[in-house]
């Protein structure tokens, strides 16, 4: 380290990098290697989300309650992350709630454009404090959706439910 000579503050530099256009890649002006990943997963839903999804299949929204702080958690978990204790009893919650925040989305997951917008929202479930989950608002005009709007779950037909978050088709405004 002693051999080092102190440097003067450096001058503004020319940054390195070769920017390409999409055509360069598409028309093979530059070589590319294409690859399709084949990775697949089957995640064990476990105790808490397993029971939550079973509840949805039965047309119920379930939460867990912490015996120590009294907080109700939905989506449920087997622990209270604030008290670091095992959760206490399971609570059946109403299928109504309040829009905490929302968006009017014109793009799909793959960034393609949607003609009819999707309205994702965070729904605070009634009697669960401010706890809630992400879902979609339906049966509503984009311009009528607002924060604080009361909503109710619209369930899929019982025979079509599969123990999934999509067993609730969407939440609709309570008018």
């Amino acid at each position: 380290m002693e051999a080092l000579s102190k440097t003067k503050p450096s001058k503004p530099f020319e940054p390195a990098g070769t920017g390409l256009k999409e055509e360069d890649l598409e028309h093979h002006k530059v070589l590319t290697i294409a690859y399709q990943p084949m990775v697949k997963y089957a995640w064990a839903t476990g105790v808490a989300i397993g029971r939550f999804l079973d509840g949805l299949r039965a047309g119920e929204i379930l939460g867990t309650k912490c015996d120590r702080c009294g907080r109700i958690a939905v989506p449920p978990r087997i622990f209270c992350e604030w008290c670091f204790k095992r959760s206490g009893e399971w609570i059946k919650l109403p299928d109504t709630g309040t829009v905490n925040t929302f968006s009017i989305s014109y793009i799909a997951t793959d960034t393609t454009r949607l003609k009819t917008p999707t309205i994702p929202a965070v729904i605070e479930i009634d009697s669960a404090g401010h706890a809630g989950f992400l879902h979609i608002i339906g049966e509503a005009k984009p311009e009528e959706v607002r924060i604080g709007m009361p909503v109710k779950a619209v369930w899929a037909d019982p025979e079509k439910r599969k123990g999934s978050i999509t067993d609730i088709r969407h939440f609709k405004p309570i008018r």
Partner: protein, 388 residues
Amino acid sequence: MLIKKRVAVVGAGMTKFMRRAQETGKELAFEAARQALDSAGMRIQDVDSVALGSAPDAFDGVHMKGEYLLDGAGAWQKPYSRNFVGGGTGVFSAIHGWWHVASGLFDTCLVVAEEKMSSCLPHPQTAFLTIFDNMIERPLGPNLIWIFALEMQRYMQKHKIPKEQIAQVAVKNKRNALDHPSAQIPRAATLQDIMNSEVLAWPVQRLDISPVSDGACAVLLASEDVARKITDSPVWIDGVGWNLDTTYWTNRDLYFPRYVANAARMAYDMAGITNPRKQIDFAEPYDPFDYKELHHMEGLLLCRKGEAPKLTAEGVTERDGKLPICPSGGLLGVGNPIAAAGLMKVCELFWQLRGEAGKRQVAGDPRTAVAQAWGDLMQIGTVVVMHA
């Protein structure tokens, strides 16, 4: 607080930020690392350890991306590890490097952050589906813009902020970036351009968002005794902070980033900063979306909650204002190769505090500045306070 070793930044490097780079991720990492070493007059043989930051493997398309990148980052036969805190990774990389040196275990640490998002098709956005909860969110078909839109809506509603005030951030940062040699699309935009751009997920419009990019950045860290041998103008890392909030983002109020505030308090405490509004000369908060800069100014306690849009409207945050914010041009202007964009903010502090920022130099001989990044499910704040 007693820290074992005082740590300085003694060199910095950065590639161009590009929509599509011909360079592999390794090559990008090399270019940034080489430049950081050159700027300090150091050889890789003099570097004791290497810390790397890079965001999801699903961008570069390589499992264990940290392993893949390590030779480009100069880590051959060295102690090397990769940190990962989502979008907060870039600034966190400097913190990761900081504890290598501050611990007394190493005299020097080369910190490299890389992202090559263009490998991911049909669009890097698609990979973001996989950041959502695999059991109860992914089946709803979410995309990344949603969470920003949901947070932005909550923030706007809480403080009754008009969209125009938010768009002003994009105007400022895109203008600032005209002076940055690494800028991806150096192009100014008017308020009207932003407001008229395509609505993606209201209230988010296309020009509210930083572009997708490839790029890399690097900084070289050294302990005080070594730093003084390397340079007459080391820039000190006086404070570091990071804080991760609960994963259950739908159980929190998103209008204020409390985790950023926690991280900022941690860093300020360490740096002995008691009044950030007075003691911070300029800041590089994380600005992947225009409202985020405002959100983060508030999280960094540089103003009151809901006050950031007003300061922006008054010109306080311009490069020649009282509290310049993102003089680099930020992610909105320079580009957003996730981890590299965060470390760019640390590079900018280094250059500004040494008076080497050229046309971007903020006036008034700045001495103390803060860089911050954010990430995960609106969940982590990473903060570095630097001092010349």
